[in-house]
Amino acid sequence: MAENDIALMGHLMRRAGFGAQYEELETRAAKGYEETVEELLNPKDHPDGMDLDLAERYFIEWNHFVRGVPEYITWRMINSARQLEEKIVLFWHGILCISDSKLQSYPTEYEELELFRRDGLGSFRDLLVGISKDPAMVYYLDNCLSHKGAINENYGRELLELFSLGVGMDGEFNYTEDDVKECSRAFTGWTIANSIPQQPYGRYAAQFLYNPDDHDEGEKTFLGETGNFNGEDIIDIIVKQPATARFISRHLYNFFVADDVEVPSWMDTPPADMETIKMLEEEYFRSDYNIKSMLRLLFNSDAFKNARFTKVKSPIETIIGTLRLVGDWATPKPGMEFIFDEMKYMGQEILNPPSVEGWHTGKEWIDGGTLVHRINFAADSVSNTEFPGVKSIIKKLADTGPSLSPENLVDGCLRMLGEYEISEETRRMLVDQNSKGGEVLTDSDDFDTTVAEALRMIVATKEYLYA
């Protein structure tokens, strides 16, 4: 099997999922790239992608998701064989944002994540309808405070600005203040039932409620069309706008292919790769706004395949990817809290994006403090020779022959990490650091620690920040 096949598979699994161990890359590469893309888009294995019941047995708080939702999502990201499903949950969680700091209702937040898992690869139109009826969103963006004759524009504005059209495109505004108001009028009456208080029996999920008495039935003019629009009519108008195609295409590109400028700059800064964006826009309309179709085209494109190591990994990608690599948390055990602490220290607290705009991505993930946590977390994990994934790397390298030169040790470790590519300068530095003892005997007592040290040094490089 060509090394390039595995390198490409490593790339696909890092982007369409959270990475994979070398053995899985070999297996998938043997199956073929396009087949793997299809399998990611249409997974046929266990409905949960894992033996979820056993985890639920020990993480008892997952029952009805009154608590433990961050643990649950994290567990799924680490262990699900249906990796793209989990990745798309994270994708939408960063765009159609809600925040636990406002909601403080895990069962309600869980329902939204399930919406992303269920519909996140389907029609964008259906997803927008779903999110507009999602109790977490209705409360988070105050649509429950928007009434006939006394609108609250918060949801209407963010629906246009951050969830679909974007402020502008090619230097032109995509909508007016009047459109925001008319949009908000159309969503009046889309509210929630009064919640059951958390005392005495704990939290219950909030429920969507359509109140026709509070819906503004009057005529509205939105994006040039006039009618007695309800929320779904507004969404029908939104999804057919070229700006929506551009907005979703840029988000998909930014998340799966390469870092783009931050969203507020999209009005005036054209996409770096207009050709690929155009391709995605066309597929958006051709497929009736189908996200899966857009991703199929994207993953099979040269633009995607050639975009290796052009994207800074998010903290969650860094942590989940590392845990998958070393094989930690494959079975239930105490102490998951530290994972969320690490996410927080690295700047991405799950279920708590900093604002409705979500997280800023790319190089904005990195500053002095977050960098130290990234490096320490990855270095501590890959150098722990008790982890099954690390043991597997050591064994695979040991099986290559009786000894390894410093060059072969470094190259072997890079290969085991998913064919990581580094600059020649970094490679030379790593080889120099690993040259002190000369050739390493693979049956020597300290071979484990030698490999662990090499892995530790690699994950501390600048290149390892990228995926």
């Binding site: 008892i60 708080e61 059951i196 208080p197 029996y201 219950y204 429920q207 105490p334 102490g335 809290e337």
Partner: protein, 344 residues
């Protein structure tokens, strides 16, 4: 409300509990229950692993009339949840069983040990070694004593039942992983009827199996599904003095009742009302009372079982169902036919 299904009827009695994260009058993710002497009951609280909540892992002693009596056991930080955890510490407590003296034996699936407390909660011992050899255990789930004070333990990850004396000395065992008669797949709950026969909730096989006291397979019933007599991961099981079998059908959110032959009789889906402790809690803050009054559909949503994980039944025909995420126990009364005749 009376469930009118022949030949057994159940009348909802009351609800015990409220969410109480740290201790005292209430529960926090209760997973098991055992009826003690008089009106005492012992409720195992799994609590949470979130470190800020201390001391949320505990066993609460209270009465059937919801009088708080005391609590025992305590939580340790996840980093300290190791074999050397202090005496009395609990991490993944799963069940409790009472011996003939009323001492409480608490199984812990993470620490792989049985902790023993007096009926008033004083720690008096522990035993258990991890492994798969005779007497070694791997994630002990359900516990039940027979009339001679032998402790039957569901050794869940070894897919077997092990029997110990109450000092923890191994007596005998049976079971292996599988789906055939007498084979088990991550079993969970266990109970012993008045004849000494053993009933096991064969969790991942979605069925109940009955064995003689020496482990001879006698019968099985149930299969995967949502229909009557079908299960989605049955957890707790109890058998009453008349032989009726109660199964906590955990992921179907219901309690199913079978006759002694394993024939489906009826199912209960919950009738919870505001408990005494719950009423005390909401009355502290008028905003809770107002919010409850405004909440659409509260009665219908709040009454139903959610995560019914364990069940116990006493000699008075009272059935106790523990719900994990609702931090409560619903009590039902098995109805016996009554006739009132005689002179006016």
């Amino acid at each position: 409300m009376v469930a009118q299904v022949a030949p057994l009827n159940f009348r909802y009695s009351h609800t015990i509990g409220r969410q109480e994260t740290r201790g005292g009058d209430g529960f926090f993710n209760p997973v098991a229950i055992a009826r003690g002497e008089g009106d005492r009951m012992y409720v195992v609280n799994r609590g949470t692993e979130t470190p800020v909540f201390y001391p949320c892992k505990r066993v609460t002693i209270c009465s059937v009339d919801e009088e708080y009596i005391g609590q025992f056991g305590f939580k340790v930080h996840p980093e300290d949840a190791v074999r050397s955890a202090p005496d009395g510490a609990l991490f993944w407590p799963t069940s409790v069983a009472l011996d003939s003296q009323g001492n409480a034996y608490v199984a812990d699936e993470w620490l792989n040990r049985i902790s023993v407390f007096t009926k008033d909660g004083e720690w008096i011992g522990k035993w258990g070694e991890p492994g798969d050899g005779d007497g070694e255990i791997d994630k002990p789930s359900g516990l039940a004593f027979d009339a001679e004070d032998n402790l039957y333990m569901v050794d869940s990850h070894n897919h077997r039942i092990q029997v110990f004396n109450k000092e923890g000395q191994f007596q005998f065992k049976w079971g292996t992983q599988g789906t055939g008669d007498g084979e088990l797949n991550f079993p969970w709950g266990i109970d012993i009827d008045k004849n000494g026969d053993v009933f096991v909730a064969d969790w991942r096989n979605d069925r109940i199996q009955k064995f003689s006291s020496d482990g001879t397979f006698l019968m099985k019933f149930g299969s995967s599904g949502k229909g009557p007599g079908e299960f989605n991961r049955p957890t707790g099981i109890a058998v009453d003095k008349d032989g009726a079998i109660y199964v906590a059908d955990y992921k179907n959110d219901r309690l199913q009742v079978f006759n002694s032959s394993g024939v489906f009789i009826t199912l209960l889906t919950g009738e919870a009302t505001l408990s005494k402790w719950g009423k005390e809690r909401v009355e502290i803050d008028q905003s809770f009372i107002r919010a409850r009054a405004r909440s659409q559909g509260l009665d219908e949503r709040e009454k139903v079982f959610q995560g019914p994980i364990s069940v116990d039944v006493d000699d008075q025909g009272r059935v106790f169902v523990t719900e994990v995420p609702r931090h409560r126990v619903q009590v039902f009364l098995k109805q016996s036919p009554e006739f009132h005749g005689g002179p006016l």
